[in-house]
C-alpha cells in the first residue's frame, strides 16, 4: 500500500504540473480582464488538432508541429478577443458567458465537421523509469517540466518587465494604470494572446499523451475552472497550489481506490470550498 501511495504522490505532483499549466491561462485572463473564458478548453482542443494535422497528416517534426500549434492558438485567441470578448467587456457577466458558450459550440462543431468524431492521436509511446519503487512516466514528466518552466517564465515576465508590471497594475487599478500611461486595450489583447499561447503550450504537452476528440474541450475547461476557483479567481500562485493539490488527490485516490473515486473526491472538495470558502485558497474575501 505504501508503494502505491508513493507512486500516486509522485505521479500526482507531475500531473499537477500539467494542470497548473492548463489553469494559468484562464486565471491570467480572469485576473486582468474579469472575463471567465468558458471556451478556453476548446482552444486547447483546437491546438491539439493543429498538432495532429502538422505532425501526422503533414508529417512535420513533432516539435515544429507543436510550435506552429502554439502560434495558431495565439491567433485563435486574438480572433476570439477581437470578435467576441472586447465588444462585451462592459456588458453584464451573463452576456459574456453566453457569448463564450457560443464560441465553445462553434469551435467544437467546426472540428467535428472537419475531422469527424473518431478519436485521433499521435501515438507516441514513452518509456517509464523507476526511482526505487516509484515508477515515473516520461509522458507525465514532460507537462510537469514544461509547466514549471512556463510558470517561471511567466513570473519573470510579470515581475521583471515593464509590460508585465503594467498588466499587474491593470489588475489592481485599471483607471490608475491608464493615468500612468498604460493603454488598457493593448494590455487586454496581449493578455488574451498570452492565454492563447499558454493553451497552445498545454496542447503541445498533452498531444503525445492523449488522443483527441471534439468534446475534450469541455473537460479541459471544467478542470481549469475548478483549479482557478479553488486557488482563488485571478490568483496565479493559488491556482498553481490548487493544481498540485488536485493532481495529488486525484492520483493517490485513483491508485488506492479507483480513478472515478478520485474524480468524485476532487469535485466534492470543490463543492465544499464553494460553500465555505468561495474565495478559494488565496483569493481575497469580497466584502459586501
Amino acid at each position: 500500500m505504501g508503494n502505491l501511495i508513493l507512486n500516486g504522490l509522485a505521479n500526482g505532483i507531475l500531473y499537477g504540473g500539467g494542470l497548473a499549466l492548463l489553469a494559468v491561462g484562464m486565471n491570467l485572463i480572469f485576473g486582468v480582464m474579469n472575463v471567465i473564458h468558458l471556451a478556453y478548453g476548446q482552444c486547447v482542443m483546437v491546438a491539439l488538432y493543429a498538432v495532429y494535422v502538422f505532425a501526422v497528416l503533414l508529417h512535420l517534426p513533432l516539435l515544429l508541429s507543436c510550435v506552429i500549434a502554439v502560434g495558431i492558438s495565439a491567433l485563435l485567441a486574438l480572433l476570439i478577443h477581437v470578435a467576441v470578448v472586447n465588444p462585451l467587456l462592459k456588458a453584464p457577466l451573463i452576456n459574456q458567458l453566453l457569448a463564450l458558450a457560443g464560441v465553445m459550440i462553434v469551435l467544437e462543431n467546426i472540428i467535428l465537421a472537419v475531422f469527424g468524431s473518431d478519436y485521433l492521436g499521435i501515438q507516441i509511446s514513452f518509456p517509464v523509469f523507476a526511482i526505487g519503487d516509484v515508477y515515473i512516466k516520461i509522458s507525465s514528466l514532460i507537462p510537469f517540466g514544461v509547466g514549471l518552466a512556463t510558470l517561471a517564465l511567466l513570473w519573470l515576465f510579470l515581475n521583471r518587465t515593464y509590460t508585465g508590471l503594467a498588466i499587474r497594475a491593470v489588475v489592481h487599478d485599471r483607471d490608475m494604470a491608464e493615468l500612468m500611461g498604460v493603454r488598457t486595450g493593448r494590455v487586454y489583447w496581449l493578455t488574451f494572446a498570452i492565454g492563447g499561447i499558454l493553451a497552445g503550450v498545454v496542447a503541445a504537452c498533452f498531444a503525445p499523451i492523449y488522443t483527441v476528440h471534439p468534446h475534450f474541450g469541455a473537460a479541459f475547461t471544467l478542470t481549469a475552472f475548478v483549479i482557478v476557483v479553488l486557488g482563488g479567481l485571478g490568483n496565479l500562485l493559488g491556482g498553481s497550489i490548487a493544481a498540485f493539490l488536485i493532481g495529488v488527490i486525484s492520483q493517490v485516490t485513483g491508485v488506492v481506490f479507483t480513478s472515478e473515486i478520485g474524480e468524485i473526491l476532487v469535485y466534492a472538495i470543490f463543492i465544499i470550498f464553494i460553500l465555505f470558502r468561495p474565495q478559494g485558497l488565496l483569493g481575497a474575501k469580497v466584502r459586501t
Binding site: Y162, R168, H172, M176, G181, V182, R183
Partner: protein, 234 residues
C-alpha cells in the same frame, strides 16, 4: 502652459462644471478651492482625459488636449495625483515608482528620476521593497506624489492631497508639495484646506456648484471678505 476655455463637463446627463476658464502659467502654483461637490475633481478629470468635456477646449503648451485619452495626456507631460493617491497597494514602493516611469519618455530616464525622487523623499528609499499597502496615509500620499514625478511631468495636478488625513500628516503633505514646488514644477492643486493651499499658491480660483465665482492673486484672494468669512472662518 495650461489653458481651460469655457469647459462644461459632467457625468451622463448630470452637468457638474459650467463654462469654466482657468489657466496655469509655467513654473507657477495655482490652486482651486471650493466645498465638497463643487466640481473641482471633475475639472482635474476633464484635463487628465478621464472625463470628456461636453463643450469648451483645453490647451496644454498650445496643443489642444480635450478628448485625448489619459495615456496620451500623461505622455504630453501632465501628471495627475487623484484623491487618496491611489497607489497600487499590492505592488512594492519600488514597483509603484517604476510604474510612474511607464511612459516611453520617462522610461529612458528611470534611473536618474529614481535618484531624484529618493533625494527628495529619502523615506521611500528606505521602504523600497515594502508593499505599498502597508504604508501609512501620509507615506502613501508621498509615494503618490513621487510616482507622479517619475512620469517626468511638466505639470502636476493634485486632487485634495490632504483629504482624510490627520492634521499632523496634513502639514507633512503640504511640505511634500512645497518640496516639489521648490524644484520648479508647475502645480495645479484643488483643495478644501483653503488657508494651507493658498499659502503655497501664486494664483487661486474659487469654485462653487460648478461655477467660478472668484479668482485672484494670493494676497487679494486671502483679503476677499467672502472668502475670509466662508472658507477661512475669519
Amino acid at each position: 502652459m495650461l489653458q481651460v476655455e469655457g469647459v462644461s463637463a459632467g457625468y451622463g446627463k448630470f452637468n457638474v462644471l459650467n463654462d469654466i476658464s482657468i489657466k496655469v502659467d509655467d513654473g507657477t502654483t495655482v490652486i482651486m478651492v471650493g466645498s465638497n461637490g463643487a466640481g473641482k475633481s471633475t475639472l482635474l478629470k476633464a484635463i487628465s482625459g478621464v472625463v470628456r468635456p461636453a463643450c469648451g477646449a483645453i490647451y496644454f503648451n498650445r496643443e489642444r488636449i480635450d478628448g485625448c485619452p489619459p495615456h496620451q495626456i500623461v505622455e504630453m507631460g501632465i501628471a495627475f495625483v487623484p484623491e487618496g493617491g491611489r497607489i497600487f497597494s499590492e505592488l512594492t514602493v519600488y514597483e509603484n515608482l517604476k510604474m510612474g516611469s511607464y511612459p516611453a519618455t520617462a522610461r529612458r530616464e528611470f534611473a536618474a528620476s529614481l535618484r531624484q525622487v529618493f533625494q527628495l523623499f529619502p523615506l521611500l528609499e528606505n521602504r523600497e521593497k515594502q508593499v505599498a499597502g502597508s504604508l501609512s496615509g501620509g507615506e502613501r500620499q508621498m509615494l503618490a506624489i513621487a510616482r507622479a514625478l517619475m512620469t517626468k511631468p511638466k505639470l502636476i495636478m493634485l486632487d485634495e492631497p490632504s483629504s482624510g488625513l490627520a492634521p499632523k500628516i496634513v502639514a507633512k503633505v503640504f511640505e511634500f508639495v512645497e518640496t516639489i514646488k521648490a524644484q520648479g514644477y508647475s502645480i495645479f492643486m484643488v483643495e478644501q484646506n483653503v488657508l494651507k493651499a493658498v499659502g503655497l499658491a501664486e494664483y487661486a480660483y474659487l469654485l462653487e456648484t460648478g461655477t467660478l465665482v472668484y479668482e485672484g492673486e494670493k494676497q487679494e484672494f486671502l483679503e476677499n471678505p467672502k472668502i475670509r468669512a466662508s472658507y477661512l472662518g475669519i
